[in-house]
Symmetry: D2
């Protein structure tokens, strides 16, 4: 299918992606990874729970680590403009026959938990506790000096339909990969907040979370993290990079925690606030869309992802021949 | 006056600042400055006119250089969401007894030219010619490698009133300087596009344009520009910096063209899309608000600015004792 | 063999590596690569010849490109302290039954051409034409902004013997790879000028030149080169990197010209002037010695190198089991 | 006087500057400054003493902090090639009627303490305890990530004579400032180790230590230090910078500890190993020699320096008209 025109007047106003809960099997080692190594700050600590934020964030948390028997991903959190948007969101999901219910969450006002047609748990809210700005308390900057959560990336068994669904919600496509032979969309990057994406979908067994991402200031922060990880016992946790994506133009690194949850650290994308921004099309056969500089990604990067709690992924019916990367 | 609550439901939807026309007295030397030294790209060239864009911009132009007898500034350009916003803008200005008329501009659709209460010429449009993306044609990157226009900064004779007026239009305050003794606002930074500002106002003889700004990727780009300018005959055009502002947290450099038009090159500010983002208050007596690292700005930076065509600035009645910087 | 103690009182005083001649099959395309892309400066141009220098070099040239039927490498050039060192060098080579004769070279004083025991052509001189410093003419900085030639790296069929021979000449080992099973040295990095190396030897079919290297200021220069090459038709010329070597600690990129001549661009090694600097030992089985961050090098990097004019390489009798990288 | 030709065959072989002792009035606050803020590593701690090294140094220490009643500077330490050089040094100083005696120092072999004609205490040694390399233990990198001691800079009441004296010892001039009116040398930068300087002299009340310097990898490390110091109570300790020196081409920052001891952090100078390197001449009237980008230095930078223990500085008879900076 062709990329649909953007919905410039969406049914409710999503401001940005906001937070995600990761279920991890060893909270202490997750803390060593996300706090001591990556450099996220602890906002709150409770039994079996850690709430984290990045350095320029004033919302209470962007990552929640939860001790669990098995690794998985909880809801993908999005901030909406105001309380009325929450009510409009609830009606919109219900109108499509999709679940959407109020849930209780600490440190937050009203929270609407919904599911997309593939079962991905989504969480919408207007107000989260606000914390004192610390972005100029430079003694707190450690690790990769993560500034803010940037995006979610998901494997999807039907990217065309995901683009249509999230597009109706107001996410606008900035770049996409087209499979010329089938006429299908192989992958798409969609945004609300004015960067290349808040959420992206890539063809594959899904729904699964491929990665979450944090924005950093310069490539040198990423080089610092590589040096640190490779000399403090985290060599095997470095999966791919550093490199530059053709798509998004971002300088990237992919790392994985002990449970396999993948994080991208990322900089150098561009501003996309124009409503008439033209989506950039990449051909599935162009390897530079993945890595502008040509180095291939490892097999794990193409195949491995994290399950959402209670959601069984299914195969995509779209196969690349020969099998190629997202 | 206290900073007013943000208007979250403005009368028309401004997306971002977009462009400005600078009248220059020697177009060839202005080209040497903005194109050959700063690194802007030429979109179009006509007799006495140059249309320029930065490297990630896809709109036709963000700076227009116009040969003139005397240096001055034309309209400050803003992009709105859609055509209906233009009509709403016209009605809104007329409702306040302010001029707002359709004008013809090359490379653009309908353009509404209005004036704020101090006479500043503003230009609103929804559609400008779109150009092919060149942000991955890296052979084009020169000079400071400017990525996009970032903001306008104005001297204002009544900052409190400017904040109120632009606030009604939907600009939201991110940071401001308060004069504790008088209870007045000395300066304010206001945004639409999700960065620290699209437009800022500082107390002083006004209205005058203090500077326009371009966003760059890293401080090293700014260091490269300093090295280039200081060894190619532009030493005297370096006015202030490099340094970091307390306000906005930006790493900055201020340079001036031969006519005195001031440009800031700038990186490292932060994301401000949250509607409940709390404005950061700085005290007029805190010198770190201007330069986090303490180095003072030169006198010219506090006093010199560019006139808008046909607009006579007036004194502010707010004086600092002792006279301090914006 | 164990690494021999450094010869702190060598028979003649080599100051540093200095220059190399590359025979190329298409001088115009070589110029496009080394000058227009990499950013070397042209010192002199003659029929079929280009003399190049890097930006902080004041010697006349560090690379000579010579049009030829077949690609190959000419002499490796080294600067000695004074004229007497040249005479001492001649006597020293003759004393070992090795060729060493005066040759004429443009832009240079007396030049002694010798050969090491494996036939590698070496060139020693004390005085080369000096050019005006241009390191502060920042308008000349292009491409990767190469600052100075840094080192040569050679495949050697007998690294232990190469280390012994060059060690007698006063080259001191800074780091080396030991093959624990055989007790042999797999690779060694040797210096005169106070960095990690002027010359390095790695086990393999040799003698062949693996690469020459240029020193740059920061990793961001290397990222700029990757962006430029990958978008100007040089994608296939990017062979390995970016990454950090465990050995030398350098941030690196390997690129190849159209004839396969390999250049490393390189930064972040360390000072080694202390005569009692302890060589750092790496185990052949430790993959981090090659890439601290873990990414493997491509096969070409391990096997391909350039022939010296008229010298037939031979196999090494030292085999890794399984075959591993240099 | 003109700059003398370099002495290429010095009486003893100095390898590099090595270390300095700073007497400080509050060791705890000095530790907070040099260790916790600047990022030097503690090699050894004893009552009233701290021995520090930078991150790539393998010698036991490059800075000694000693608790004292009054701030002052102890000996300037230099490493020589071998033990015989120490004996030759002793004879050379005695031959000039200057003191030179063996002293005991912890962590070092034989140490010769001498004085130059102006009373500056100098310390020469061949062997200091060697420590395990830690330059790849990236978790240890903090603050400005100082890599190695780079140079000493002294006020001298007679720069011409200082250049002549240190020149005889084998220090070679790389750059200098000439006072055209008087024909005198205003300042000179002299090296042994292959960078722009190990020691520099500037006209002024002396002998006094103007600063010691550490080499860092990139300007971004210096920006990080500025951010850290300006937000952790060290704003007043930032004296000058960031900027680029015309002389040496270095990107610099000057900071001062609580006792006024000045440290420069520094990168981007160039290699100077060639014995025929031509000294670069700067005119005293050229302000770009100090700051390539034009920003002036504060008065304190021109006038304040640290006394050597027991040495009374005297005025220079060379005055600039009008008084200009070193």
């Amino acid at each position: 299918m062709p990329i649909p025109a953007p919905n410039l007047y969406p049914p409710f106003n999503i401001v940005r992606l906001s937070h995600v809960e990761l279920a991890v099997t060893d909270l202490a080692s997750a803390r060593a990874f996300y706090v001591d190594t990556l450099g996220l700050l602890v906002s709150h600590e409770a039994t079996g729970m850690l709430y984290l934020r990045a350095l320029e964030e004033r919302g209470h948390h962007s990552v929640i680590l939860r001790q669990a028997e098995r690794a998985s991903v909880g809801s993908l959190g999005f901030k909406v403009w105001d309380e009325a948007d929450l009510d409009r969101a609830k009606a919109w999901f219900h109108g499509r026959g999709l679940p959407a219910e109020w849930v209780e969450r600490p440190f937050m006002g009203r929270v609407l938990q919904a599911r997309d047609p593939w079962g991905v748990p989504l969480e919408f809210y207007a107000r989260m506790d606000r914390l004192t700005p610390v972005h100029q308390q430079y003694r707190l900057y450690k690790g990769v000096k993560p500034l803010r959560i940037d995006h979610f990336n998901l494997f999807s068994p039907d990217v065309d339909k995901a683009v249509a669904f999230y597009g109706e919600m107001g996410f606008r496509v900035t770049e996409y990969t087209a499979d010329e032979e089938t006429g299908r969309t192989w992958a798409a990057w969609m945004h609300r907040k004015g960067g290349v994406h808040d959420i992206a979908f890539t063809n594959g067994v899904g729904p699964r979370l491929h990665h979450l991402a944090f924005w950093v200031a310069t490539p040198l922060n990423i080089i610092d993290l590589l040096d640190l990880m490779s000399t403090t016992g985290y060599l095997a946790n470095i999966e791919r990079g550093p490199g530059r994506h053709g798509i998004s133009n971002a300088f990237f690194l992919y790392i994985r925690d002990r449970d396999g949850h993948r994080t991208e650290v990322y900089c150098s994308d561009y501003q996309t606030v124009d409503p008439d921004l033209e989506p950039i099309r990449w051909d599935l056969k162009d390897p530079q869309r993945q890595t502008l500089w040509g180095a291939p990604a490892p097999q794990s990067w193409f195949s491995e992802g994290a399950h959402f709690q209670g959601v069984t992924p299914r195969e995509s019916d779209l196969k690349a021949t020969p099998i190629v990367a997202p």
